[in-house]
Symmetry: C2
Subunit: 207 residues, 2 copies
Amino acid sequence: DIPAATASRLGLYLRELQHFLRGGTETIKSNALGRRLGLSDSQIRRDLALFGEFGKRGVGYNVSGLVQALRRALGTDGNWNTILIGLGNLGTALVRYRGFREQGFRLQAIFESDATKIGTELDGIPIYGIDDLEQIVPRLNAQMAILAVPVGPAPALARRLADLGIAGILNFAPVSLALHDEVSTVDVDLAVELQRLAFAVVNSDRS
Amino acid sequence: DIPAATASRLGLYLRELQHFLRGGTETIKSNALGRRLGLSDSQIRRDLALFGEFGKRGVGYNVSGLVQALRRALGTDGNWNTILIGLGNLGTALVRYRGFREQGFRLQAIFESDATKIGTELDGIPIYGIDDLEQIVPRLNAQMAILAVPVGPAPALARRLADLGIAGILNFAPVSLALHDEVSTVDVDLAVELQRLAFAVVNSDRS
Ligand SMILES: NC(=O)c1ccc[n+]([C@@H]2O[C@H](COP(=O)([O-])OP(=O)(O)OC[C@H]3O[C@@H](n4cnc5c(N)ncnc54)[C@H](O)[C@@H]3O)[C@@H](O)[C@H]2O)c1
Ligand SMILES: NC(=O)c1ccc[n+]([C@@H]2O[C@H](COP(=O)([O-])OP(=O)(O)OC[C@H]3O[C@@H](n4cnc5c(N)ncnc54)[C@H](O)[C@@H]3O)[C@@H](O)[C@H]2O)c1
């Protein structure tokens, strides 16, 4: 079992390596990866050795091999059937973002409460009414749900998803979903990213 | 100096504690915080001791005192003058998100290339043309910029922001900005959050 803090770092390595792969880089040294992420060489080598990846001395790691191994270790080498709830500003930006598909998350359906959106499609993805959640989700074999709705309806929707056997919920609403252990949840708060930025600015020797 | 990995954890503690504060909780034990974040008691106590916060045995930590201390440690107790570049789906969701203000990030201006948006306002925030960036930014004393534009224009815009002396850039475009050390940047990739979720699902004993 890989500890959660290591898994977050592996996710960051994977993203950087996919940038390099897209740019045509074939091998990379741990210090090149470390510089971009602000991590030490030895931390990166230790993390990658956890799942049996050792770079060749003087040459480095094979980028595409490392990407495959990281995806396997992180559980994103398969296809996750994913649904989105809430197609407002944030939900629309998430549907359009290519990064999810690249990590193996296949968006299959969108659910909305706004009558003007129900029954239409976005980029080929059907938009269903939220009242039909219980009928549609079992047919899709959906495993993941992204919650991009206001704070009010979020906890009740999460309860419905848990009852339908959804395995994981990515929650953007700034409210605790208060689900017991039956469902894995990750709360996203972009303010935490801004905090990371403020911290980097305060701690850089420029200031 | 606090290491970056610790700072990310402090950011997560701060967010959880602000949830508790909003809910009226006055004291909290490290294991209650740990359960919500999947971290051990001893990790939390060690992190908080770093900046002199010690809970009272049997009682726990004072929530509002801890929030103040964390904000000071993370550099988000002040006000950061922030600008947003790109008011598409993602940019609009970010303007509307209350969480930024709560962390001390004050959005002062939006910049766009779309003529239909220039010269208008959103929630009282003026939308300027991107060509006027060099005239407007010095007047605002802006320190942070959020980049929510497509991949194409992102690196050139980042260069212009660096030349204007912006201290930090939060970048959502899936492309490396390739700035040298003069500016702190944080790349956000929400696919990394979905990866964290996939990892949690794969590693939970439910599966
Ligand atoms: N965590 C973050 O960093 C972050 C950043 C931006 C926004 N947000 C949050 O994300 C959420 C969405 O933000 P937004 O800007 O897209 O808001 P929005 O108002 O533009 O969109 C919300 C959408 O949800 C739909 N909706 C409402 N109730 C519903 C229900 N019961 N079932 C299905 N759909 C329902 C609405 O019709 C609307 O389309 C908000 O909670 C906001 O606070 C979080
Ligand atoms: N990192 C993530 O997790 C994530 C998630 C969703 C979207 N994104 C990315 O965020 C960016 C924005 O996404 P979106 O869905 O809001 O796209 P969008 O097309 O809806 O919005 C882009 C906006 O940028 C403006 N723009 C274009 N060129 C500009 C320039 N030179 N100067 C100023 N403004 C300019 C456009 O007029 C438009 O309003 C994209 O790069 C997308 O890939 C990232």
